[in-house]
Symmetry: C2
Subunit: 301 residues, 2 copies
């Protein structure tokens, strides 16, 4: 089954303790697609500026990603710049230039509107709602967001959540959204807002998936060298939604495997800058790492 | 197989958002024994003051815990007082009165010296070393410690670690011990100090076990109401060491199960103040919760 993603296509300037890159390919829609395409074909909606080096997306095009919905607008491409400290889990945003994103209104090509699986990456919830109004009957809508929208666009975000099946949040975001510090209670409160599944991304502590009937804990990959965490959440989402679309089944067993595939893709992504690692993965590597995750939680009777 | 524990027997005054208790039974050796006795007989070494209400330990005596090594000394019992805030994971120590613990020198009854399994609870590493000098040929030594000793008695602690098979640390302690923020790298550095296994206790994020050849990740129990976290680490150790002693096998498969039994006992402990929950558990409850833990990480092929 196909996956539709709406999100940013960006040029990132990133500094970590291990190096730096300038104007490297980034953005939520790009990280997502780069990961999801290993599992299912992807349709992207987004916008770039006239300065965008389109050839850098060739690897996506070659890998069953449809970029028909990526429009080129007058002006410069969205840019983000950040620095990670010696504790690689903490980052500081140095600069965000919305540029062409300021006037972005997602317009779905006709061929996108029957998308069975939809990922609303972390963008203005007004735009997320725009997209939902244009798709006809998605089987599953998965949504990401961030502190900025939870605080500034709460009402619209709540409307999006009412139409979302699966929401992805990090620990800070979920606590902010429902005002509850206990993660389990907080997750249950989110289930009352609409979604039937909450995935809490906990970085080096793994991920927690909560639904009405079940809890699932997924470990983080024991990475000794987190090189650049940028895009970890979006590549996680790519593995997660991509796997669900491939299975075309969102029962508990598949949701659990989806969380692990999400963790697998995020673990590859953080090993290098930008798309360097997600560009050329082999299916065998993905499967091996999936097995490593299984082994990490195996308990014999 | 029997388990030997050396640690504190204390009277705790604790305040949480859900209530408070004064001079309630506490101490690392007590929390440990209260949990471990469900798996194996326990020999305790410790000291109490003349004011100590010995009858409060009756439930341990009745439950295969040998208190022959608990001496009564002139003076008052060790007291600890703390308060937990609305984020139950953060606590502030209000008062620590060492009292009879100041001049404590552990003396093992002859019958304790062939202990096959030894748990050195969080006390002055000089005393931990004292105990190790008195046991003849333990199969496994498990050690706990804290920031205070890592900073103030580093050299002695390193001597203890050289003679320790399994060390338990929380995230802050392990980072402090080896000066490394990446948990995986930090754990490997600890393996170079002597222990063959490191268990990192991560509270609401579960536990991570690292050995030369394997990683094991255990979830935390999805507790909605952490009532009082006091003793969580020691009851974890009780379930962990108790299970190993029961199995009398410390191969990887048993170590993994031990981590889960540790998590099980800690999850019960935090549901009530003091020993209230650990006092009267049924084997069936323990087994059911063990199965819940398995279910939380189950991934089908």
């Amino acid at each position: 089954m196909r996956v539709l993603v709406v999100g940013s296509v960006a040029l990132d300037t990133v500094k970590t303790p291990f190096g730096e890159v300038e104007d490297a390919l980034g953005g939520s829609a790009v990280y997502f697609s780069a990961a999801a395409r290993y599992f299912a074909p992807v349709d992207v909606v987004g916008v770039v500026g006239e300065d965008f080096p389109m050839a850098e997306l060739d690897f996506l095009r070659a890998g069953s990603v449809n970029l028909e919905g990526v429009r080129t607008a007058k002006g410069r491409t969205f840019r983000w710049s950040g620095v990670y400290g010696s504790d690689i889990n903490e980052r500081e945003t140095l600069d965000t230039q919305l540029n062409v994103f300021t006037d972005f209104h997602p317009e779905l090509p006709e061929s996108y509107r029957d998308a069975p699986y939809v990922f609303l990456a972390n963008i203005d919830p007004t735009l997320q709602l725009d997209v939902l109004d244009q798709v006809r009957a998605p089987k599953r809508v998965v949504c990401d967001t961030m502190n900025f929208w939870i605080e500034g666009k709460r009402e619209v975000l709540l409307k999006v959540l009412k139409r979302t099946h699966i929401v992805m949040l990090n620990e800070g975001e979920i606590r902010q959204l429902v005002g509850e510090s206990n993660l389990i209670k907080a997750s249950k409160k989110v289930l009352n807002l609409g979604p039937e599944v909450v995935v809490v991304k906990k970085g080096e502590h793994g991920a927690l998936m909560v639904s009405k009937d079940a809890f699932f804990f997924a470990p983080a990959y024991p990475t000794e060298h987190v090189f650049d965490p940028t895009g970890a959440g979006d590549s996680f989402a790519g593995g997660f939604v991509g796997y669900l679309a491939q299975a075309d089944d969102f029962g508990e067993e598949h949701l659990r495997r989806a969380v692990i595939y999400g963790s697998v893709m995020a673990s590859f992504n953080v090993e290098r800058f930008s798309m360097e690692r997600l560009k050329n993965l082999e299916e065998k590597e993905i499967e091996e790492r999936f097995q490593t995750f299984r082994e990490m939680v195996r308990i014999t009777a």
